[in-house]
């Protein structure tokens, strides 16, 4: 981010950089940096909390008037992810006994996904490579890969990491609709990878592709790196 900051400063604009990792603000010498110890993906802290966001934003922008040399400040409040809590979303019972269980699961949450997109839009759901109609087929492909089919023959409909992101986005949007509260960061991610058949299929596929001797770029980006 600070690489851009320096380009903009050189063009005559003052910059303020929000950062969730202090070492990166320091290492790139952000001209004006505000370190906010918030989860990755939420640089303003809390969704649907205008007062909190306003406070963060003003602390950041007011540096333009307050500091006259390269400075990094710390936002006083922190938001710490506990690394454990997962959403407790009910999954639908089996509907089609002839379908692969993971495919049946994906079909079963389509209604929740559609409700979420209707309410919040498709800002992070599907569409990088596959759309919602193609998700069950994509889940089936990962399930085949996880069960031993070579990943190139499993029918994954695109770059595996991109398809996996669409599947995860589909499930996480459904989770938002199924949850009874605004999820904290990663609660939906942990639900997806730890509680759903689709998440397990992607994790097992990552292991299968890795064990097949493929280069790191083929499997590394299928799931968060600490899983």
């Amino acid at each position: 981010m600070s690489t851009l900051a320096h380009a903009f400063e050189a063009a005559g604009m003052a910059t303020v950089t929000l950062g969730s990792i202090r070492a990166q603000l320091e290492g790139t010498a952000a001209p004006r940096g505000l370190y906010c110890n918030f989860p990755l993906g939420r640089p303003l802290g809390r969704p649907n909390d205008a007062e909190f966001q306003h406070h963060v934003l003003w602390q950041a922008l007011s540096m333009v008037d307050r500091v006259s040399e390269q400075t990094i400040e710390d936002f006083p409040d922190t938001i710490i992810d506990d690394g454990e809590t997962a959403l407790a979303c009910p999954l639908p019972p089996r509907h089609d006994p002839d379908a692969h269980p993971a495919v049946d699961e994906a079909l079963g949450i389509r209604g929740a996904y559609d409700r979420a997109v209707s309410d919040w839009g498709n800002a992070v759901g599907t569409g990088r490579t596959v759309d919602a109609d193609q998700i069950p087929e994509a889940v089936g492909a990962f399930a085949r890969c996880a069960e031993g089919t070579h990943w190139k023959k499993a029918g994954i409909p695109g770059i595996p990491a991109r398809v996996a992101q669409d599947i995860r986005g589909y499930y996480e949007m459904a989770a938002i609709a199924l949850a009874d509260h605004t999820p904290e960061a990663y609660e939906a991610t942990r639900w997806f990878f730890h509680k759903t058949l689709a998440g397990k299929a992607i994790l097992d596929s990552r292991e299968a592709i890795k064990n097949a001797g493929e280069t790191r770029d083929k499997w590394h980006f299928l799931a968060p790196f600490d899983l």
Binding site: M1, S2, T3, L4, A5, H6, A7, F8, E9, A10, A11, M13, A14, V16, T17, L18, G19, A23, Q24, T28, A29, P31, P39, L40, G41, P43, L44, P47, N48, A50, Q53, L57, L61, V64, D65, S68, I80, D81, D82, G83, A116, N122, A123, V124, G127, R128, A161, Q165, G169, E172, I176, P183, A185, Y186, E187, T189, F193, F221, F225, D226
Partner: protein, 148 residues
């Protein structure tokens, strides 16, 4: 899995501070036009998606609310953005500061780049300066940079 573990894994990432950094002193914030530039790989749905290692940028229209987060990294939470764009792209909060007179104006044009770039020289030397020229010509005085 969780945020602290993921952040710890970035500890070894190489940082490249400039040899001769510029520090620009802007006019007072209450008279300044402010734009948002994000590395969250944002775009409008009718704009091209980002390719791997894409150093190009997308111009974002602050009057539109149809932003899509297209980041390649699996290591960030995206549900916050799904629920409220302002947690990454705080356009509504900027408008509040404008109405309070704390900033001069909210720019009509904003910008996004793709984050998690393996090498930064293309942004340093090409698309960064090109994007800066567009914002400067649009009258921007202050840039708020937001990651994910």
């Amino acid at each position: 899995m969780g945020d602290q573990e993921l952040k710890a894994m970035t500890a070894g990432l190489e940082c490249l501070p400039p040899e001769n950094p510029v520090f620009t002193t802007a006019k007072p914030l209450s008279e300044s036009t402010v734009a948002i530039v994000s590395s969250a790989t944002l775009r409008h749905p009718d704009q091209d998606n980002y390719a791997p290692h894409d150093i190009s940028f997308r111009l974002l229209d602050g009057r539109r609310d149809d932003l899509v987060l297209s980041h390649w990294s699996p290591g960030l939470d995206s549900t916050g953005f799904a629920l409220d764009h302002n947690v990454v792209f705080p356009i509504d909060r900027l408008r509040e500061l404008e109405s309070e007179g704390k900033i001069g104006h909210v720019s009509d044009v904003h910008m996004a780049f793709a984050g998690n770039q393996p090498q930064l020289s293309g942004i340093q030397l090409d698309s960064g300066p090109a994007g800066a020229k567009i914002l400067r010509e649009a009258g921007v005085d202050v840039v708020l940079l937001t990651p994910v």
